[in-house]
């Protein structure tokens, strides 16, 4: 048993932690005009903090980071507002429907990321379906594609399943007798929800928030394909440094900064969650 555990820890280390360390290592190396575009440093140890100095000194990066957090935050909020009722409805559905409904929720995940974006472009573009309907109603067409609206739609649509699933998992485990007890003691349905269902599903909500917020904060493809040019998110800058500028150390430094931020965030959220809970119960 102990041997198995040791093997698995080693496995986790090699497969999961090592790549992260490599990114950190690239962030600390000199850029170079070679392939790959950074000076290898395994034999010697020439550490450069230039990349970190750059992203700390140039306000562009900080602005992009803040914008990313804002976009991720708003997307997470929309996912939560849309996903919670879906999770609740699935959990309350007859047993035999639930798997079908869960599969439907997972459907976007199966149709291929690119095709989904493709479909949304078809819907949102200037002479797309939505505008065609608007024009048929006698109104003037809207600019939708390459705006923030399109970007949010894309992000919410992509990450919604990650919000629905953990909340559903929690709600489906909720003891139905607690709901009956609340109703029995005089709570109308909306109070049963507020006093029992919601507080007991909070762990699922926090899980969903993390699962949506974290990848959304690093998102680069959706802003690139659906968003406007003004949406300079941190993930997009990373992409540009990586592919367009070929500056791997800077790209890696951005990735490290983002990862550090995202590792701190769950701890902060957890503390907020605990405080909320203990305030409730006192």
């Amino acid at each position: 048993m102990i041997a198995v555990l040791a093997i698995v820890w080693a496995w986790l280390l090699v497969l999961l932690v090592l790549p992260t360390l490599i990114v950190l290592k690239i962030a600390l190396s000199y850029p170079a005009d070679s392939v790959p575009p950074y000076a290898p440093m395994l034999p010697g140890l020439h550490v450069s903090t230039d990349a970190f100095a750059l992203i700390l000194s140039d306000p562009l990066y900080a602005q992009a980071l803040l914008l990313s957090l804002k976009v991720a935050g708003l997307s997470t909020a929309i996912c939560l507002l849309a996903g919670y009722p879906m999770a609740l409805a699935i959990a309350r559905s007859p047993e035999r429907w639930r798997n079908l409904l869960l599969m439907l929720v997972m459907l976007p995940f199966w149709t291929g990321f690119l095709m989904r974006i493709n479909a949304w472009i078809g819907l949102l573009q200037d002479d797309g379906w939505i505008n065609t309907i608007i024009v048929m109603l006698g109104l003037s067409p809207l600019r939708l594609l390459y705006t923030d609206v399109a970007m949010y739609i894309g992000i919410v649509y992509t990450y919604l399943p990650f919000m629905v699933l953990p909340i559903y998992a929690r709600l489906s485990q909720l003891d139905g007798r607690l709901l009956e007890a609340a109703a029995d003691l005089g709570a109308p349905p909306w109070q049963v929800f507020g006093a029992v269902t919601l507080p007991l599903s909070l762990p699922g909500v926090w899980a969903g928030v993390l699962l949506v917020f974290i990848p959304a904060a690093g998102e680069f493809v959706i802003p690139e394909l659906l968003g406007g040019p003004q949406a300079q998110l941190i993930g997009r800058m990373l992409w540009q440094e990586f592919f367009q500028n070929g500056d791997w150390p800077t790209a890696s430094a951005i990735a490290c900064a983002l990862l550090a931020l995202l590792l701190l965030l769950p701890a902060a959220l957890l503390r907020v969650g605990r405080t909320t809970l203990s305030r409730r119960s006192s």
């Binding site: 607690l178 109703a183 029995d184 003691l185 005089g186 709570a187 409730r280 119960s281």
Partner: protein, 347 residues
């Protein structure tokens, strides 16, 4: 005050409650006794509003409850395994029903303190349910359901999660509380001893029907069916034949009974504690051989094989201790019982 008439509840193809009538008086402690699946919990849930009847009426103080959602009914339930809110303190649990009624904070606090005193949990208000023992949780659940002063309290197996010794003590406490408060209780249980010791009246449920309703002594001493006789305590059941208006056993013996013989008499039931081994003046007598004995501390039960091969159990209280008992396995003994120990049953 509570009146149930012609109630029917169907789950799919099974009739959970099959045409049931019941009246519970104010201040009464009514016990619904039945095995699992007999429909007793369904009846409780129908009164609480969690199950919708297919037919029949439920009236409380003359007001029909049909179509009234659970949160409007002036009835509270103490749920099996308690259903305490795990994220709320003991005080918040007890005060929940009062908050839902929109009482002032000070009134709620006063009532919560009062209820904590009532169930002897003073000072436990800030604990969380998970920090309590089983017996303490049971008392919090009771306090929570009593706090809103219900007209009728429904209790679903309130003692089943407790240890045996604690259960015995809690039983008496619950009865005392009910007497003091004067609130009508309907208590569901599958435990006959619980039903007999606690109830004002017992309703024995079986397959969605009330087989018999009566005081504990009525249902125990004068059960109306073989099912009730065997469900409430142990019973020796022998088949009988009618000859010239008198009852005979298969061994040929003619019975002396204390009541008129019903025309459709089929079974004779005798409680084991009414059967006497050895000397007695009782007119009903049989002989047999002791084949087994079972010691239970308070009592000793002998299993006696009769001449025709059937078994009869005789239970005697051990008033003098086990050493005073003279009967051994293998002994030939005479069994006897009084006419009023005979329970003659049609079905």
């Amino acid at each position: 005050m509570l009146k149930v008439s012609g109630l029917r509840v169907r789950f799919g193809v099974t009739m959970a409650i099959d045409g049931l009538d019941l009246a519970v008086a104010p201040g009464e402690l009514f016990v619904l006794l039945g095995a699992s699946g007999s429909g007793k919990s369904t009846l409780l849930r129908a009164i609480g509003g969690f199950v919708h009847p297919d037919a029949g009426r439920i009236e409380l103080d003359g007001v029909g409850l049909a179509g009234m959602p659970p949160h409007r009914r002036p009835v509270n339930t103490m749920f099996q395994s308690y259903a305490l809110f795990p994220h709320m303190s003991v005080a918040a649990n007890i005060g929940f029903g009062l908050r839902m009624r929109g009482l002032a904070k000070s009134a709620i606090a006063a009532r919560v303190t009062e209820m904590l005193e009532l169930v002897r949990l003073r000072g436990f208000g800030t604990r969380m349910p998970a920090q309590l023992s089983g017996g303490q949780q049971q008392r919090v659940a009771l306090a929570r359901s009593l706090a809103p002063r219900p007209a009728l309290l429904l209790l679903d197996e309130p003692l089943s999660a407790l240890d045996r010794n604690l259960r015995r003590d809690t039983r008496e406490e619950l009865v005392r509380l009910q007497r003091d408060l004067g609130i009508a209780f309907i208590l569901v249980t599958h435990d006959q001893e619980e039903a007999l010791t606690m109830a004002d009246r017992i309703g024995v449920m079986h397959r969605g029907r009330l087989m018999q309703v009566g005081t504990p002594a009525e249902v125990y001493e004068r059960p109306n069916t073989r099912f009730v006789a065997e469900f409430l305590g142990a019973a020796n059941v022998l088949s009988i034949t009618l000859r010239d208006g008198r009852i005979g056993l298969s061994s040929g013996m003619t019975l002396h009974i204390a009541t008129p013989v019903p025309a459709d008499a089929t079974w004779l039931a005798i409680r084991p504690e009414r059967v006497i081994i050895g000397e007695s003046d009782a007119p009903n007598r049989l002989s047999g051989v002791v084949v087994q004995r079972s010691y239970a501390g308070e009592t000793l039960t002998h299993v006696v094989r009769l001449a025709d091969g059937s078994m009869l159990r005789a239970t005697a209280a051990l008033r003098q201790g086990l050493n005073a008992v003279q009967v051994e396995i293998g002994d030939a003994v005479t069994l006897s019982w009084q006419p009023d120990a005979c329970i003659v049953l049609a079905q």
